[in-house]
Amino acid sequence: MTLRTINLTRPITTESPAGSLFPWEAPYRTEEIATLTYNGANLFHITMGSGSATRLLGPALGSPTGATTDRLPPERLVNRAAVVVDCPAGPGGEISADQVTAALAGADLRTGDAVVLVTGWGDDPARFTTEEFYLDSPYLSVEAARALAEALDRNSSDLLLTDCVYLDRPGGEHARTEWTELRPWLRPAFPSDAAKTYIAHYRPEKVRQDWAATLALTASTWTVAGLVGCGALTGRRVRLTLAPLPVQGVGEVPCTVVAQVSTDAGAPAEPVFSSGDQT
């Protein structure tokens, strides 16, 4: 069997608005420390938010006693059997519980599978540097999130991945209207004083609404949000490998995700974000 490796990770770049749209985010920024021209080597300093890239979300995101991302056992990161579940959704599309249920019913779901819920949203790299890509992403209704969590639990599946950039409507109701709809110069990204002040007033009653789907899912299910290039997963069954940034003691970290697809399953010659030749 010949396998093709497909990178499902959104490139982390300073050209992207990722991490600068919501008050709890922090954008990816770099600063040169050493340069080849001056110091003879290239090295740099990085700041970024835990949620400003393709990322792994775990129970500790919403619970101080929940499992942190470094507790996900290594055997559940490598060569995971996964099923690809199509659930098409367009700009701003809310995915309902019925859509999720129907999509799962039509999938070749096997016990313990990781589930890749594909809307098609992440298939156009040209859009990754636009604000619309982040603000108009499809998302899960809270009922859909609960239905997914229950279905995965029944199937002994502990891992959901999706190309939705966020699990909830981006920014929810409160942060979206109170923060993101302001002019950009009125909402400078964290660690600005404005963002810190907003966060100080962003209390649990608002968070429970804005993050309802995220909290419903991640309480029981390891979840990866923000995949890209899933259109290349023409085979319905793939092998996935996840590489979360090995940060200790947190509930959310950037995560690199690759899939291996059998060319026998019809992997295209030049899939989106395909990385490398046949292995």
């Binding site: 093709r4 490796t5 990178n7 959104r10 490139p11 982390i12 050209e15 709890w24 770099t30 420390i33 050493a34 080849l36 001056y38 110091n39 003879g40 080597a41 290239n42 090295l43 740099f44 300093h45 990085i46 700041t47 938010g49 835990s50 995101l61 919403g62 619970s63 056992p73 290594p74 055997e75 990161l77 490598v78 060569n79 964290f190 660690p191 966060i199 100080a200 962003y202 209390r203 968070v207 429970r208 995220t214 909290l215 490998t241 590489a243 979360p244 940034l245 090995p246 200790q248 003691g249 947190v250 509930g251 959310e252 690199t256 690759v258 291996q260 990385s275 490398g276 046949q278 292995t279």
Partner: protein
């Protein structure tokens, strides 16, 4: 089969990325918290080569491929030979070590990734000794690096992993005596003014850029292969042959990046597919 995580954890001020003048320590700043918002999110700051990291020729060569340009098919389930070269604090890997342990290893197959296990990364030593984990790590002598590059090039191997925290010469000519040997409060890390000023004076004429005596072996290894330094917990590997996955943080344009390293160890690991 079993899977072993060979990655150093990233935690505030962990030693690898916390001692040299170009280092910026790994730090976490809470943005939202369980106590105030009900969800915990963070801002992170760190060095492009913090912790376990995939290093590329692009560190020293602007024309070499960068993180987003790699063939990720070669970084997943890579056939790997595990080779022991036991070393203690400050010891160097010498050409004799390479000839004895690497060149003559009967389990080494052409094209393999090579994991050189010194024992330095075992038993969470990094927690026990802190910054000395970085400044006293075993490392490669310049001659040892050249010999390893020769052997691996001959065998068609382009990926080398090691539990040495650093592969270069630990700044022994300039950066160790002038910077890393000082008390931590006397060398505040980047982006401090002190670190910026030091880096303005750290030019190739004074050991930067891989020139001997500070980092010469680092350049040799970077230009011959992709080194992965500061892997940990290699003592947990039982087999001589494993399958290794090395996936970096997907930083577009980066000349190297922190990475996660996972090894599948066991009877079938060496004969995958």
């Amino acid at each position: 089969m079993r899977t072993v995580n060979l990655t150093l954890p990233l935690y505030p001020f962990m030693p690898v990325g916390n001692v040299w003048a170009w280092d910026s320590p790994f730090q976490l700043t809470p943005v939202t918290t369980h106590e105030r918002q009900g969800v915990a999110t963070h801002q992170m700051s760190f060095h492009s080569e913090a912790g376990t990291r995939l290093m590329l020729g692009a560190c020293y060569d602007d024309d070499a491929p960068r993180i987003h340009e790699l063939d990720y098919g070669t970084l997943v389930n890579r056939e790997t030979v595990v080779i022991d070269i036991p070393k203690q604090a400050g010891e160097e890997i010498e050409p004799d070590d390479i000839d004895r342990a690497v060149a003559k290893d009967p389990d080494y197959r052409d094209g393999d990734a090579v994991l050189l296990r010194t024992g330095w990364g075992d038993d969470e030593r990094y927690r026990a000794i802190g910054d000395e984990y970085a400044t006293t790590s075993p490392h490669f002598s310049l001659a040892g690096a050249k010999r390893l590059a020769e052997v691996m090039t001959e065998r068609g191997s382009d990926l080398m992993l090691t539990d040495c925290a650093y592969i270069g010469n630990l700044g022994e000519g300039f950066m160790f005596p002038e910077w890393a040997s000082r008390k931590p409060w006397d060398r505040p890390p980047f982006p401090s003014q002190q670190a910026r000023i030091y880096m303005r004076h750290y030019t190739p004429a004074r050991g930067a850029g891989g020139g001997a005596p500070d980092w010469g072996s680092s350049v040799v290894l970077h230009l011959a292969m992709s080194p992965v330094a500061a892997v940990a917990n290699c003592g947990a590997l039982r087999g001589k042959r494993v399958r290794v996955t090395v996936l970096p943080l997907f930083l577009a344009g980066a000349e190297g990046a922190p990475c996660t390293v996972l090894a599948v160890d066991g009877d079938e690991a060496g004969d995958a597919r």
